[in-house]
Symmetry: C2
Subunit: 353 residues, 2 copies
C-alpha cells in the first residue's frame, strides 16, 4: 500500500484512467505497491514497462508482428504513465518519455488498424502526431485529438478506437507543452495556432477528407479543442471532455500547479498564473459556431462540471453539456457511459460510417 | 470494502480475470463495494450489468450498432459474473445467466468480427456455442475453446480476439456442466464426447477448415482440452491453461467443492468425489500425440503448476509446460505474458495467418 499522500492521491484519482487507457491491472497493482514515496514513481512504472518492451522486442525479432504490436503498445502506455506528471526529475521523466514514444512508434505498423508517425511543421520547429485510418475507407473524415496537461498521444489507443471503428481517421498529436511538444514549446492557451498547423497539414494529404474535420480534447484538451473551434472555421464539430472554462480561477483556488508551471516554461508560480489566466473562454465561447458536445463529471473537483456547462451555454452553435452522474475528472470512471455515444455523435456530424 | 470472507476471497482471486475479460474497472469496484455478504453477490453484479444492457438496448433502438455491440458485450460479461459461482440460489443465478446469454447474443452481429450462435447436437439434446471468423479469411482453421468450472462462452471475447487477429476462427462452447449446458447435462470428465460432437458439427460447415482444428481450454478446460486431445485424432494442437491432472486428489485436499457438486448434478459431496476422481489423466496423457502447450501459474493454489508440468511430461507428442513466475490460477494476472505468445504457437501449428 502506498504511504506517500501524493502517491495515494495520484493513484486514487487516476486508476480508472490507467486501466481504461491500456495499463494491465497487474502492472497497476504491482507498480503502485512498489512505490513507497513519490520519488519512486517513474522508476517503478518504468520497470513494469520494461517487461512489455522486452516481450515486444522478442516478438519483433521472431517476426511475430501482432504480438509485437500488442506488447509494444502496452509498453508505450506504461512508460507514458511513468513519465506523465514526473516533472520534478526531468532526466528520469525524459528517459521514460523517449521509451514511450519509441515503443508506440515500433508498435504502429503492427496494430489494427496501423498508425503512422506524422511530423507537422509548427512555428520554428515541428509537432508530432499519430495518424490512423479506418480500414478500407476512402477519404475518411478525421478527428483531431487534443491532449491535456499530462496526457500524450501514446495514451490514446482506446480513445482512437471509438472513432476508427465508426469510419473516422484519428490524428492524436502532442501540442505545445504536451508530450514531445513540451520541451521546445510552452503551454499555449491560444491553441487555435497548433490546430491550424495540424489542419494545414491534413489538407496536404490526399487520403483524408479535410473538409470533414472534427476536434476532440480531453482534460486541458477539453479547453483546447473548443478554444480552437472558436477560431477555426475548418472544424465541423467539437467534443471537449472536462476542460476548464476559466483556468486562472481554478489555478488560483487550487494553489497553483507545478506540472502546469513546468510545462508553461515558467520560472515561478506567479508567472505561471499569468499564463493560466489566458486559459479563459470568456468572450471566446460565443464564437464557437460548430456543434459542441461538452462532457464533464459530476464529482470532478479539478475542473468542475460548471465549467463545461458554461461552455455549452455560451457557444453560439448547436451545443449540449453531458454531465455524468458519479463521474470524476474526465469521467474516466464512466467512459462506457459516454465514449461510444460521443463517437456516434461525432460520426453523425462528420458524415462518417 | 467487502466484509464477508467468501466475498473477499472471490474478489482477491478473480479481480484480474474480471478486468481482463471485459468488466470495466468501475463496475468491479462498485459491485464489490456494494456486497456486504455473499448473498448480495448476484444482485449487485446484475445491477451493474443492467446499466450496460439499458445503454445497449437504447443504442439498438437508435440504430447505433457499434455502440450496441460494445454495451451489450459488456452487459453479457457482467451478467455472467453475477451468475458465475452463485449456485446457492439457482433462481437468481439462472435469471442472470439468461440475461448474460441474451445480451451477448444481441451483441454478436455488431462486434468486430461478428459472431453467430450455433447449436451443436449432443446426446439427447444440444450444446450451444459462439462462432466467430477472422475477417476475409477463406476456410480458416478453428480453435475450439473449452470452458472451466465457472466460465462460459459469454466471457471469452478477449481470449477469442487473440485467435481471430491471427487468422483463426474461434468456437467457444458451453459443454456439459458449463453455462447453457449445466442444467440438462452434468459435468462430464470424458470430455472427448462433447468435443467430438463439436468437431462433427464443424465438419458440416463449408466455411471452415475442419482439417485444421486446435483445442484450447482454461481452468477445468485446461483438463478438458488435453483429455479430448488424447482421444480425438482430429485435434491438431492443444493448449491447456491451469487444468488439473488429477482432480480427485485436489478435490479431497480442498475439502470438496460446492460449485462442482452442483454442476456435477450430485446430491452429496461424496457422490461428487466419485465424479472428481474420474478427472484424471493417469494413463490418458500418454495418448496425447498432437503438440501440447500446458500453461500454469507458479502461485496457483487451486491447480498447482505440478499438474500442468505432469501433463507436458507424460504426453507422447511434442509438448511443453509454460509455468509463469508470479502467476495465479490461469495466470490471469499475467495474461499479457502468455496470451499473445500461445496464440502465435497455435497459429503456427494450424498454419494460420
Amino acid at each position: 500500500m502506498a504511504v506517500d499522500p501524493k502517491v495515494a492521491a495520484v493513484i486514487e484519482r487516476w486508476a480508472p484512467r490507467f486501466i481504461s487507457n491500456g495499463v494491465p491491472l497487474t502492472d497497476y497493482q504491482e507498480a503502485t505497491k512498489a512505490i513507497a514515496n513519490w520519488d519512486d514513481w517513474c522508476a517503478a512504472w518504468a520497470r513494469r514497462a520494461e517487461i512489455h518492451e522486452a516481450m515486444g522486442m522478442a516478438a519483433l525479432d521472431a517476426g511475430k508482428g501482432i504480438s509485437a504490436g500488442e506488447h509494444l503498445q502496452t509498453a508505450g502506455v506504461v512508460y507514458h504513465f511513468a513519465k506523465f506528471v514526473f516533472v520534478g526529475d526531468m532526466a528520469q521523466m525524459k528517459a521514460s518519455h523517449e521509451k514511450a514514444v519509441r515503443c508506440r512508434d515500433l508498435a504502429l505498423p503492427h496494430i489494427d488498424p496501423p498508425g503512422i508517425r506524422v511530423e507537422i511543421p509548427y512555428a520554428d520547429a515541428s509537432l508530432f502526431g499519430i495518424l490512423r485510418k479506418p480500414p478500407g475507407a476512402q477519404s475518411p473524415p478525421v478527428v483531431v485529438m487534443c491532449m491535456g496537461m499530462d496526457s500524450a498521444k501514446e495514451e490514446m489507443a482506446s480513445n482512437e478506437a471509438h472513432f476508427l471503428k465508426r469510419g473516422m481517421a484519428s490524428l492524436a498529436f502532442d501540442g505545445p507543452g504536451q508530450g514531445e511538444g513540451e520541451y521546445h514549446f510552452a503551454i499555449t492557451p491560444e491553441y487555435e495556432k497548433p490546430v491550424a498547423a495540424v489542419i494545414d497539414y491534413l489538407e496536404t494529404r490526399d487520403d483524408l477528407d479535410a473538409s470533414r474535420i472534427g476536434l476532440w480534447g480531453v482534460s486541458f484538451g477539453g479547453y483546447y479543442a473548443p478554444r480552437a473551434a472558436a477560431f477555426e472555421p475548418r472544424a465541423k464539430a467539437c467534443i471537449g471532455i472536462s476542460g476548464p472554462f476559466d483556468y486562472g480561477k481554478l489555478f488560483k483556488a487550487q494553489g497553483g500547479n507545478e506540472v502546469f508551471r513546468v510545462r508553461a516554461h515558467c520560472a515561478s508560480m506567479e508567472e505561471a498564473y499569468t499564463v493560466a489566466k489566458r486559459i479563459d473562454l470568456t468572450g471566446v465561447a460565443e464564437k464557437i459556431s460548430c456543434p459542441l458536445l461538452a462532457i464533464g463529471g459530476e464529482l470532478d473537483t479539478l475542473t468542475p462540471p460548471a465549467e463545461q456547462q458554461r461552455m455549452a451555454n455560451e457557444a453560439s452553435g448547436p451545443s449540449e453539456a453531458l454531465i455524468l452522474e458519479g463521474g470524476n475528472h474526465c469521467a474516466n470512471n464512466l467512459r462506457h457511459m459516454y465514449s461510444p455515444q460521443s463517437a456516434d455523435w461525432m460520426a453523425g456530424h462528420l458524415g462518417a460510417g
